[in-house]
Amino acid sequence: MLSQVYYLIKKEVTIEWRNRYAVNGILLYLISTIFICYLSFNVRANQLDPVTWNVLFWIIILFAAVNAVAKSFIQEKQGQFLYYYWVHDPVAVIVGKTAYNSLLMVLMGLIGLLGYVLVLGNPVKDMTLFVVNLLIASIGLSFTLTMTSAIASKARNSQTLMAVLGFPIILPILLMVIKISKNAMDGLEWSDSYDEMVILLAINAIAGALSYLLFPYLWRS
């Protein structure tokens, strides 16, 4: 089981490395969105209102996440699925995909943060908390969205469906995340964010456990 998961992650990374269009696409997506925001707000660095700065960052990350994770199931060809299901345990497939997406999202989140801070300034007082929050959030986003994309991939017009299904479910995570990162921006004590962090981790755990339990029912078709 673990070796299968490892194999699947390795395969995803190799494919990514070989044709590189997916990661590059998302990277370009991130960079151009950040740049569009920069130009549209027409600000010099550090002039954006902190609340706007914060919310804008998370919305960019959210859309990048939807685009990045959506391809994990939606863009796979039907034959490829058949092959997976022939060779692997369904649990290994979902764990592998989720792990790979988490990796991808953590990477994208960090790069996004770097670009965002460079272009739009850095009002964050407690960067460690902000980054820790970013890590938890990226993992949470990929947990929920991987399962959503698995569900959406079974239906027609799955791209629209991905947004329709994903956004309301993501909202609790997003609200918690925005609150924690606001705390980090204001430089509050870590203990002020513990409640939110525990809830965030709990939501992540629920999403992870449910994907693990429910995916085997989803894949037969």
Partner: protein, 219 residues
């Protein structure tokens, strides 16, 4: 007649709630005044919605365990009635908010959370609509149903408690929590919750029977 005893109880309970709820004496609370009667109509909608959606999830799990089409019908129809209760809950709440908070929609955490909750469940029907094969529709619908319910619980029960809400009983507002819920309110409130919930179950069973007749006619 004997088989339908609970329907008779439903009718009696709701007759009592509607007449008693509007006519009987209620305690005077600041700000709330007479609008406290919304407790008999607005709050039971949320109780009803959660109970309907919980039944829906139970049947979704049952469906996944033993692919019986009947379980799927039950699950869908209870989700349907749950959404009707949710919409009514939001509408009655907005009407009440207009008189107490002076605004139809004031962005209260509970208002927002319930609106998002409805979006989650409306997406459930969009998902079902976009699948063609009935077996697949039932299975994937059941999977999403469980996922949606798990997202709904933190949304309705945990997040609003982390911030101050305008709702009675939150953030220092006068309300009907454990200390304030007066016996004069209880005497109508508990029957109201039972009555509206039973009405929901009744609606769902009627819808399930219609669906069954439909499938028989189609065959």
């Amino acid at each position: 007649m004997l088989r339908n005893w609970w329907k008779v109880i439903t009718v009696l309970l709701l007759l009592y709630v509607v007449t008693g709820g509007l006519l009987m004496d209620v305690p005077r609370l600041n700000i709330l005044n007479e609008t406290v009667r919304a407790l008999y109509f607005h709050v039971p909608m949320w109780f009803g919605m959660i109970i309907m959606l919980a039944i829906s999830v139970v049947y979704a799990v049952k469906y996944l365990r033993g692919s019986n089409a009947h379980f799927d019908t039950v699950s869908v129809e209870f989700a349907n009635v749950g959404i009707v209760f949710g919409v009514l809950g939001i509408l009655t709440g907005m009407l009440w908010a207009q008189f107490t908070w002076d605004d139809w929609w004031s962005g209260d955490p509970k208002q927002n959370a319930s609106a998002i909750g409805l979006l989650i469940y409306l997406a459930y029907f969009v998902l079902r609509g976009s699948l063609e094969d009935p077996m697949q529709k039932a299975r994937i619908g059941a999977v999403y149903n469980i996922f949606a319910f798990a997202a709904l619980i933190p949304l309705l029960f945990i997040l609003p408690r982390m911030t101050d809400s305008l709702h009675p009983g939150n953030g220092g507002n006068p309300g009907f929590n454990a200390y304030d819920l007066d016996n004069r309110l209880r005497i109508t409130f508990y029957p109201a919750v039972m009555g509206w919930t039973l009405l929901g179950v009744w609606m769902a069973t009627v819808r399930i029977r219609i669906r069954k007749i439909d499938t028989i006619l189609e065959l």
